[in-house]
Symmetry: C2
Subunit: 79 residues, 2 copies
């Protein structure tokens, strides 16, 4: 079982896009942990140690850190 | 079947991280197309129309564009 950790901070616009990404993941092969750093600030040092520079970010069990920027449209921002 | 398109340009350091991301995807639920824009420049206008501002990026079938930055370590760059 692979392990991946998705760190985010609850940005409302980004949550939908993040959910879409998470929906793509094969949870039969990947143990995916989702960590809301705004609610669990005690996890911030571990995220920093893993190399997280911004959120949202996906940390893989081989040490790779994928920083994700969601290019929200103005229409999405206007909701 | 969901559809997702992964655009990249063959950055050697990023390819490994991208492959890791792609390995996470549940291909039984997602039709994932990988497009190398360096080799298929005719796909660039479509990527731009979809909202791709940088590569690598993952475009989802609901219109969301996730721009992915891989924070490569200097050790990885030194390879």
């Amino acid at each position: 079982m692979k392990k991946a950790t998705f760190y985010h901070a609850g940005c409302p616009v980004c949550v939908n896009a993040e959910q879409e990404l998470l929906n793509l993941v094969d949870t039969s092969k990947v143990n995916l942990e989702v960590v809301h750093l705004g609610e669990h600030a005690n996890r911030i040092p571990g995220a920093e140690d893993a190399g997280v520079k911004s959120v949202p970010a996906l940390v893989l069990d081989n040490g790779s850190v994928l920083h994700i920027n969601h290019g929200a449209t103005m229409a999405q921002v206007k909701g």
